[in-house]
Amino acid sequence: LEPTVGAMQVWGACGSSDPAYKIVRAFSRYRTSGTGTYLAGGTSNLRCGTTTGYGYRHIYTNHRSQWEQKGALTAQNWRDVADFGIEWSLRDPDSTKWRSSNQSWAFQRTIYLVNKSTGQGVGQTEVCTVVGLSTQNVITSYPGACS
């Protein structure tokens, strides 16, 4: 695993006429298991989704400002930080939580704010990404703990 941020992936556009199922970005996902449930490793797609429902449009509407706060610390666009957070939370989570009431998995991962000149850590944040069991698509992702 790469220890630091790699090349940011470009997200596909979600224009107003693009369908909800259009894929914005495909993320690699670690396998996980919980109470009687198993989710194989594979791919979780971030799709355009809907403003009030799921995917890119939901994250854009409800969590863009939170990602922007994290991006302001590193002079990055909110999408770049969100991409980094989603990628690592799914690829190598610190913890996962199965939620039987809605058949979803929550992947949580800490990412670290580092001074590039000194190499010192100056902060950190949790990232939570929620994936549906059946479709394995990304429902939402935000900077913060999963519960």
Binding site: L1, E2, P3, T4, V5, A20, T50, T51, T52, G53, Y54, T61, N62, H63, Q66, Q69, L73, T74, A75, Q76, V81, F84, W88, D92, P93, D94, S95, S101, N102, Q103, S104, R109, T110, I111, Y112, L113, V114, N115, K116, S117, T118, G119, Q120, G121, V122, G123, T125, C128, V130, G132, S134, T135, N137, I139, T140, Y142, P143, G144, C146, S147
Partner: protein, 138 residues
């Protein structure tokens, strides 16, 4: 069991306590995933409002949980949205309402304080702590 009753029961099973009988219409949220909330938040939601919301969002939700009927899919998605709103925006005493098909919180929790950074410094988000490996995964 209605979806309203199911909501109270499902969240109770996760340590989130919703109780009727607040000073205004809605449910008092006195704990969240086992952590007490004082003063409680208010989830301004009635059974008819939840039913109407689930019906209105059913079509969009079917793509997320296609294995169940669209209204059940909407209920599952509502659980995600309620959790993320409490985690990212709410604070003790907040009131959570349904507006235009989405949840709104008032007052919202202030943004996290920024770390004390060198204004001339350059920073990067990294997946590993610079001091060494992160703690083992849970």
């Amino acid at each position: 069991m209605s979806f309203f009753e199911q909501l109270i029961a499902d969240l109770a099973g996760e340590g989130t306590v919703l109780a009727e009988g607040g000073p205004r219409d809605g449910l008092l949220v006195s704990s969240f995933h086992g952590r007490p909330i004082e003063p409680p938040m208010t989830l301004a939601l009635t059974a008819p409002q939840l039913e109407a919301h689930l019906g209105a969002s059913a079509d969009d939700s079917a793509a997320v949980f296609p294995e169940v009927d669209p209204v059940t899919a909407a209920y599952r998605l509502f659980l995600v949205h309620l959790d993320e709103m409490i985690i990212t925006r709410a604070m003790p005493g907040s009131r959570i309402t349904l507006v235009d098909g989405g949840l709104r919180v008032s007052p919202e929790r202030p943004a996290d304080p920024l770390p004390d950074l060198d204004p001339h410094g350059q920073y990067v988000w990294a997946s590993e702590p610079p001091e060494g490996r992160r703690p083992p995964s849970a």
